[in-house]
């Protein structure tokens, strides 16, 4: 269960990294 816990936390923070990339793309959007 500890491994599942670590995997779940890691997955969420990877999602946040993806969200940050999307935000960066939005901020840099020249359109």
């Amino acid at each position: 269960t500890d491994l599942y816990m670590i995997a779940a936390l890691a997955a969420v923070f990877v999602l946040f990294a993806g969200f940050m990339r999307w935000c960066d793309g939005t901020v840099e959007d020249k359109e």
């Binding site: 269960t1 936390l9 969420v12 940050m20 901020v27």
Partner: protein, 559 residues
């Protein structure tokens, strides 16, 4: 007398706003000031110890990555301590290691400043865990929220070419705000008979000759930062209703100010950065107007009592005292409830599950709006997010390019704000629906019917708003609830923070737009009304159907 008591507390808060807001401004303005002499030496030593050689400003991305990675490290350390606490020192009561899904929930709960507790501290945590995990994260999560709020303010007020250095802000929030304040409040609480000891649980003989265990511990030091950091997680299971956490009406008022003063002062700090004090007071006025409506509602609802009890011929002239402490009464309980969910602290001095339906609607609604003062820094960020939205909507109505603080608001900022605003109802309503259609979710409901819906809705709203209080009749220490609320807390904390830092970064690079006679003013009473209207409109559109199924339907069954 109740009304006088409430009015004095609100008036004292208003008096505190200007000096506190000014102090916070001087801490983070990065201009030389008198506090440097007092704290500068300690800070330089900390910078040396953590290897911070370069204190240059950061881009919004670097700032966001810095605070998230710092939080990840703190989560990892905390997980280890909770899972190994049985073998670690300062465990005089021999408390076992924490179960994995409960550990998952607990570390997320405290790193996100939520402090949702699916355990009772006196039976689930060693003293080391209380101090090195719970108290440590109470300081660091509050300092993180404060730092991000200041960075956001720097971005939208465009003071300088960057939004500051996260590590410098993070250290300063500790050394100049939370540590000194916690030290003073701890001493005050100890003077008022809140325990502070590492002695194990006491075993005493009662008047009837039975043996009784009385849990004690380092309560006062946790109690101070619990409120100052708008954390809310109690040393004991019943939180600030416990006589060791909150022994008398004076400690009750100290705890109210501890959690309320800093979030209330932040709009004034924002005004100093803007630089327009009037702009800060406008935001404060919107928050206070909403708060007074909620305070009046919960006080009136609890004072009126429950019609069913009255019909039974029971004297309820004191009001609905079920779940409340006699030493606080209706007024002391009502304002604590209103403040703890306005400032998203989540500490409780009465059981929210036993509030009348309309009384229980107040904490629920405050957490749904999440802008009535709000938690450390996050409440101001959310309110300013709504201010930008209000400007945008007004700009659309009058056909002008929307501007806020002399910067044009464009589609990219609105995309980010829309995501942040819509994420909140999504992470509340979707898991609530899931819990209500699955056996794993429904199994926790102890009060079927409309109140059962309220219990589930409250749990996820509290998690998403990073509040942490609960309708504690819900049997929520199960893998389903530990994992689902854990995920909601994470999304509730980081999505809006990341999106708002991106908005700050976007606003930072913009050229100021000269003010003209046609510029829509955001520093007058009209804007306060528009801001409140925008908050209520979005809140009603997203949450009213769910509220109608919970507390409103329950209220109608009592009539």
């Amino acid at each position: 007398m109740d009304i006088v008591q409430l009015a004095v507390i609100v008036a004292m808060l208003v008096i505190l706003v200007k000096p506190l807001g000014t102090y916070v401004y001087h801490v983070f303005s990065n201009e030389a000031n008198r506090t440097d002499r007092l704290f500068g030496g300690t800070e330089r030593l900390i910078y040396k110890l953590i290897g911070l050689k370069n204190r240059n400003g950061m881009s919004w991305k670097k700032y966001a990555i810095s605070f998230i990675v710092t939080n990840i490290v703190l989560v990892a350390v905390s997980c280890l301590i909770l899972r190994l606490q049985k073998a670690l020192p300062f465990n005089p009561n021999g408390i076992d290691n924490m179960e994995p899904t409960l550990t998952f929930n607990t570390v997320i709960s405290f790193i996100t400043n939520t402090n949702l507790q699916h355990y009772s501290g006196e039976s689930a945590l060693s003293y080391l865990s209380q101090m090195a995990v719970i108290m440590m994260m109470m300081f660091t999560s509050a300092a993180t929220g404060f730092s991000v709020a200041i960075a956001f303010i720097r971005g939208i007020t465009s003071r300088g070419s960057n939004i500051g250095n996260f590590f410098e802000d993070f250290v300063k929030a500790h050394t100049r705000i939370f540590l000194p304040a916690a030290f003073v409040v701890t001493l005050l609480l100890v003077a008022l008979q809140v325990p502070q000891t590492l002695d194990p649980t006491l075993t005493v003989t009662t008047l009837e000759g039975a043996a009784q265990q009385i849990a004690i511990g380092p309560v006062a030091s946790l109690e101070s930062i619990k409120h100052l950091g708008t954390n809310g997680g109690g040393f004991f299971g019943v939180n600030s209703a416990h006589p060791f956490e909150n022994p008398n009406p004076l400690t009750n008022v100290i705890e109210i100010f501890s959690m309320w003063a800093l979030p209330a002062a932040l709009p004034y700090t924002f005004g100093l950065f803007a630089p327009s004090k009037k702009q800060g007071w406008i935001v404060f006025a919107a928050m206070m107007a909403l708060f007074l409506v909620f305070l009046g509602t919960v006080y009136a609802a609890e004072k009126a009592g429950t019609p069913v009890i009255t019909a039974l011929g029971i004297d309820d002239s004191q009001g609905s005292m079920e779940g409340k402490e006699v030493r606080f009464g209706i007024a002391g309980s009502a304002i604590f409830t209103a403040v703890t969910t306005a400032a998203t602290t989540g500490t409780v001095n009465n059981m929210h599950d036993t509030l009348t339906p309309l009384g229980g609607l107040v904490p629920l609604a405050e957490m749904m709006l999440n802008v009535v003062f709000g938690g450390k820094g996050v409440g101001l960020i959310n309110m300013l997010m709504y201010a930008i939205l209000a400007v945008f909507i007004c700009g659309l109505m009058v056909g002008r390019t929307p501007e806020f603080l002399g910067r044009k608001i464009e589609s990219k900022e609105m995309k980010l704000i829309a995501v942040a605003i819509l994420a909140h109802p999504l992470i509340v309503l979707a898991p609530t629906a899931l819990a209500l259609i699955t056996d794993a979710g429904k199994g926790a409901i102890t009060n079927p019917g409309f109140h059962g819906i309220s219990q589930v809705l409250y749990e996820y709203t509290s998690s998403a708003a990073n509040n942490g209080s609960g309708f504690e009749g819900l049997g929520d220490n199960t893998p389903f609830w530990n994992i689902s609320t854990g995920l909601v807390m994470l999304f509730g904390r980081y999505i809006s923070m990341i999106a708002m830092l991106a908005v700050a970064g976007s606003m930072l690079g913009k050229k100021p737009v000269p003010e003209t006679i046609g510029t829509f003013r955001t520093d007058n009473v009209l804007f306060t009304v528009l801001l409140i209207g925008t908050v209520l409109l979005i809140g009603a559109l997203t949450f009213l159907p769910a509220i109608a199924l919970g507390p409103i339907a329950e209220h109608l069954t009592l009539l």
